[in-house]
């Protein structure tokens, strides 16, 4: 590979494609050639650079400068000024407010982040196996082969690392693997059915570093004794499916998938299953049913998938982010993983920060980082300098956290003490003036739509919750409606078949705990007065 002086990385993801990233990339390549810099500057594609909603984003290395909101009109100037003369186009920030140079490692989303999962996202070309390998991909597998680690050794490393499932529940991954029943045929399933409203971290991992996921799946397969894996990806995620398919082909071509991986005794194959629009399929047993070509009805547990899973065989289902942690843990060891995060929740967590923050986007920080730090350090603070009101953490199946919760460390255990959950890692930030009643109404409508209808508590309960909240929202509710909201949701929590019906209590209780007055203000008369 020829050495060049500068690299210009164009972030290609669903957001930036929409803003014309491919055209900008093409224009950059031409402008670099026109300036006679072809031998000195290389223009490359990478995954998301972490900024979302800001159009086409490019990064210039080694200068560590980022431009957001780049259009074809700015390309010539960036090439002429920055790449040719070495002058950062600061001036554009004034004359063209959409183009803002941001120095990486400064403030906001580009603040130095301890990246494990997103280590290569936004730095490598996700369509190039060579770049992934140069950035450390497949070193975990290499270590297993070189040091002749047994499957039990791999399970032990992951157990010792303290890695907990990043899909929401936080169950120890090593334990999940060790619970897998014995048998000649087993499966590894990667849950990429990311449907929790406000969550798109898995999409950006799939789009930005698919080989990391493949390696994680091979290692999981080796650990539990499975030879086949499937990646179940949401049908709406067209680019994720394309990039993952491409990465799988490359891995087969280079002997990183298939029989005798790297001439070892390890064999593993991976295929992709495309979802068709059903939130409940994010639940692991519903996902298994759907993968078998059936309605995505959750199964009764036990038996757990570790005993009876896909096609009735022992199966491990892990979230994308969980599997993306596996290769670095195996490569660097359990001790290294414990240098990050908290004692009971080691490692990092990937979040999507959204809503009324200055810079919405994707970040990765150590477990145990406070919500305040996430919003004010990485999210750039509140949009327009407004006052913080609340954050909805974990999507629809999450909980509201008010101002008094800003300093809670974000990890599975600390949030549970506050009756909140880490969930999918979606952080929807709300400014003063936002109606919690209306937001909760949206959430309850969402649950009604997504209830699969298999069990009565959820099928009927989600409908009732909508009726109560609609009455309250329209000013026709009574205090009975408020009580029923909690009572019905509590019954659903206790009696529903799967986490979908068990979840509405979380947003309802937390909303009423901190913003009960807002709900009561909508109730014009009490039951007694009506009677």
């Amino acid at each position: 590979m020829k050495l060049v002086r500068s690299h210009v990385l164009v972030g290609i993801d669903a957001d930036s494609l929409l803003a014309g990233a491919r055209q900008v990339e093409q224009d950059l390549i031409e402008a670099v050639a026109d300036a006679g810099l072809t031998d000195e500057v290389r223009v490359l594609e990478t995954g998301s650079l972490g900024l979302v909603g800001q159009g086409v984003v490019i990064a210039v290395y080694p200068d560590r400068i980022m431009y957001a909101g780049v259009t074809s009109n700015n390309v010539a100037e960036i090439v002429q000024e920055h790449l040719l003369k070495g002058r950062v186009v600061q001036r554009l920030a004034v004359s063209l407010p959409t183009v803002k140079p941001i120095r990486l490692g400064g403030i906001g989303l580009t603040h130095e982040q301890p990246r494990v999962v997103l280590q290569n996202c936004g730095r490598i070309d996700p369509e190039s196996l060579n770049e992934a390998i140069a950035a450390g991909a497949y070193q975990g597998i290499a270590k297993v082969i070189e040091e002749s680690l047994s499957p039990q050794d791999v399970v032990q490393i992951v157990s010792d690392s303290g890695l907990r499932g990043r899909g929401g529940a936080g169950f120890p991954t090593g334990k999940k693997w060790s619970f897998t029943a014995s048998g000649p045929e087993k499966y590894v399933v990667c849950n990429a059915d990311e449907g929790e409203p406000g969550t798109f971290k898995d999409r950006l991992i799939l789009e930005g570093d698919p080989h990391r996921l493949i390696e994680g799946m091979i290692l999981a397969g080796y650990a539990i004794g499975a030879h086949h894996g499937i990646v179940y990806i949401r049908g709406e995620y067209a680019l994720s499916i394309e990039r993952m398919q491409n990465a799988i082909h490359q891995a087969y071509d280079q002997g990183l998938l298939g029989e005798h991986i790297l001439d070892s005794a390890i064999s593993f194959s991976i295929s992709i299953t495309k979802g068709a629009g059903a939130y409940v399929c994010g639940e692991e047993t519903a996902l298994i049913e759907s993968s078998e070509g059936k309605r995505g009805f959750p199964r009764l547990k036990p038996p757990f998938p570790g005993a009876v899973g896909l096609h009735g065989k022992p199966t491990v289902v892990n979230n994308v982010e969980t599997l993306a942690n596996v290769a670095p843990i195996v490569a660097h060891g359990a001790k290294w993983f414990h240098t990050l995060g908290t004692k009971t929740c080691p490692g990092t967590k990937v979040y999507t920060i959204l809503g009324h923050v200055a810079t919405p986007g994707l970040i990765e920080t150590e477990m145990g980082t406070t919500l305040r730090e996430i919003i004010y350090k990485y999210g750039g603070g509140m949009r327009g300098g407004k006052r913080f009101k609340a954050a909805l953490i974990g999507g629809a199946a999450g909980a509201f956290v008010a101002e008094d919760g800003l300093d809670i460390p974000m990890d599975f255990d600390s949030l549970r003490e506050y009756a909140a959950v880490l969930g999918s890692g979606a952080i929807l930030v709300l400014e003063e003036g936002t109606s919690i009643v209306e937001l909760l109404r949206g959430i309850l409508h969402f649950f009604r739509h997504e209830s699969c209808g298999q069990c009565a508590p959820c099928r009927v309960g989600t409908q009732r919750l909508v009726e109560f909240i609609d009455r309250i929202s329209l000013g026709r509710g009574t205090s009975d409606d408020l009580d029923l909201l909690v009572d019905v949701a509590a019954i659903m929590r206790d009696t529903s078949f799967c986490p979908l019906g068990q979840s509405p209590i979380l947003p309802i209780e937390s909303a009423l705990r901190d913003f009960g007055t807002e709900f009561r203000a909508r109730i014009r008369t009490t039951t007694e007065q009506t009677a």
Partner: protein, 153 residues
């Protein structure tokens, strides 16, 4: 149709893929009874089983749809940033309710759960394209432009 099905082994685990492919190749973007009957016979399932499975998933349609399918996000993050206004604008502009197709067969208006592009909320998808940072004014521009392009082709 048969050739499309035979790209897959006749196993039920490929049912969703087959349904996706059949719907994609239908010019009216839906699963006809004929298509589902063909799948049923290929997989040795009953038609009701195939239909029952397909109807579970919101990406499949059983009635003909317009040339373009507009799917406006109905999830809380988009709602927070104005999706309700955008949906009302679309209904007014197209003279349809959610789930209906315009009289000229050009557009079908649907809602969707989170598209995962919340950074540009409120967002919608038209066919395979995502549109973000929507305003009522942008809706005018986008729909008018698509109508002009359709007439030109």
């Amino acid at each position: 149709m048969q050739r499309l099905l035979e790209r897959y082994p006749p196993a039920r685990e490929h049912l969703l893929e087959m349904l996706h492919d059949l719907q994609d190749q239908n010019p009216q973007h839906y699963l006809s009874d004929d298509a589902m009957a063909a799948v049923a016979s290929y997989l040795g399932l009953t038609l009701s089983d195939v239909k029952g499975t397909a109807s579970f998933y919101s990406m499949f349609s059983f009635a003909p749809r317009g040339r373009h399918i507009i799917r406006i996000c109905a999830s809380p993050p988009c709602q927070l940033l104005g999706a309700t206004t955008i949906q009302a604008k679309l209904r007014e502009k197209l003279h349809v309710a959610v789930g209906e197709t315009t009289a000229d067969g050009a557009f079908t208006l649907e809602t969707t759960s989170c598209l995962g592009v919340c950074g540009v909320a409120p967002a919608m998808m038209i066919d395979d394209e995502v549109y973000g940072n929507l305003t009522p004014e942008r809706i005018e521009v986008i729909i008018d432009k698509m109508r002009r392009e359709d007439e030109a082709s």
